[in-house]
Symmetry: C2
Subunit: 301 residues, 2 copies
């Protein structure tokens, strides 16, 4: 198969499908473009949660139980931080910390995030191309009813997605340029895959980087619904749809992406929406989209 | 004993004597003022090697074999850094990293180094007062014959003190103010102790902070020679004297501090220098100054 694919991905769900794609598409023909709107600075370190989750998963290093973090992780540093009364809401594992430290060091030396990512991928034995959506800082801000604007990780980890969402803002997005390679990969792609990541805070930020949306729109796009039977496997996507006054469903996701979509994958439990989506001129593919086991990733890919 | 003491200290040797003093002087009567000229930024973290060595030693947390670092330390992060090809010349232990991370976080929130140090001391159960010489950044630069100016840690750890020293520069010293409490402690002190630390790069930077030298000069000063029989127990002090054209000896140290000294402690092997030092009007105290065991620290103190 010499089809060239660009996959847009956020965290855990996106990483799983990216991993499935990586097993069926030869290296050199798959580019995974990853959301960096979740990136933040913590303890002075530059942390890229989605990029790390995708790379750890592609490298076979991810903790299979949590979906994030590293397998065989230890927590000595975090214990030390606790003893000092430091904030420990973001779980910094010892091995994971090495990634954050070395990335921070290289960025401070003037390397670009995409260069650092490439070098890490090579250290982790990842043959496929992983690109941050941009080398420029973009910060996803959650606008909440009760608490105003929150930084994404503050909302997502520290506040456990509890604040009610009224909107989103991608700080810095107007000035952000696609990372080197993103536009080239999109222009030579045969198709673009929206992984089952959060449409609001994982896929939308990528599409919002100036130059990406129109390149994606020019290609056949396939999306996999992150919402199954009105719920998400992980993360706040369904809760966000509900809080924004939209019934959370595979249909809502298809509508979210409607202007792009050529085909839409949803779970058999969502078959009721298939006809409506077909009427929008989008091919409805009904298949098991839950990727519990490794084989599920490959099958779906 | 209600004598009030201020001890000036650098790293390992200074920390040992400070620890001895802490065991014979009640809390509230001992202030240890620590060199921060060795401080540096590594992987984005603010690292204070001397301050940490003194605190870990006073808190009974220091690794007894190395003199620096923490007892029971683990090295998971460092292994991860190695795997990424990161520089590993500075040994970042997992538990030690918690200190650097939390200090970096607090400083970035606007706390002062002296405040952070006080809070850490309280977490580590240290009853005596430990103060950085200054909250302002001072960077000891080593001027070398072959390689020009080197940052201190680069010289000390990365280059293992190999470059030949021709001089020193304390960058930022003119703008540095003594940390809150330093001047007060000196003004109410009955005596000042120069711990057996490196005169050039541990004690001199402290004395060079504007306002400290004249307060120290107004008090009885006692120094302990870090040079024994022409050699140091640890560190490059003797090598530095030699490279600067001064024969390394207890006598050279006494001469270094001559304008301050009331009394000078040296090892029995250096008894040949006692008469000369006495002739300068400085009391020569000859006693075993090597602090191998815990009891040695107390006895010397």
């Amino acid at each position: 198969m010499s089809i060239r694919i660009v996959a847009l991905a956020g965290g855990v769900g996106g990483a799983k499908l990216a991993n499935g794609l990586a097993q069926v598409i030869p290296a050199g023909q798959l580019t995974v473009v990853v959301n960096t709107g979740d990136d933040f600075t913590h303890f002075g370190l530059h942390i890229c949660p989605d990029l790390d989750t995708v790379c750890y998963t592609l490298g076979g290093l991810a903790n299979p139980e949590t979906g994030w973090g590293l397998v065989g992780e230890s927590w000595r540093v975090l214990e030390g931080l606790k003893a000092l009364g430091a904030p420990t809401w973001f779980h910094l594992g010892d091995c994971d910390l090495a990634t954050h430290l070395e990335r921070t060091r290289r960025l401070s030396q003037g390397e670009r995030l995409s260069e650092v990512t490439q070098s890490f991928c090579s250290a982790w034995g990842i043959a496929h191309t992983v690109l941050p959506m941009s080398d420029d800082p973009v910060a996803t801000r959650i606008i909440s009813a009760e608490e105003g604007e929150l930084a994404f990780q503050q909302y997502f980890v520290e506040r456990r997605c509890q604040p009610r969402v009224t909107g989103f803002r991608f700080e810095g997005i107007e000035q952000a340029k696609p990372a080197p390679g993103v536009i080239e990969a999109l222009e030579t792609a045969d198709a673009v895959v929206f992984c089952p990541s959060n449409p609001w805070v994982s896929i939308d930020p990528i599409l919002a980087v100036p130059g990406i949306r129109e390149r994606v729109a020019a290609k056949p796009v396939v999306a996999v619904s992150p919402i199954i039977g009105g719920k998400t496997v992980k993360g706040p996507a369904a809760k966000m749809y509900a809080e924004l006054g939209i019934e959370p469903s595979a249909l809502a996701v298809a509508e979210h992406y409607r202007s792009f979509l050529g085909a839409f994958f949803m779970d058999p439990v969502d078959i009721e929406h298939a006809m409506k989506i077909e009427r929008w001129g989008i091919m409805s593919m009904v298949t098991n989209t839950i990727m519990s086991a490794r084989e599920d990733r490959v099958r779906l890919a």
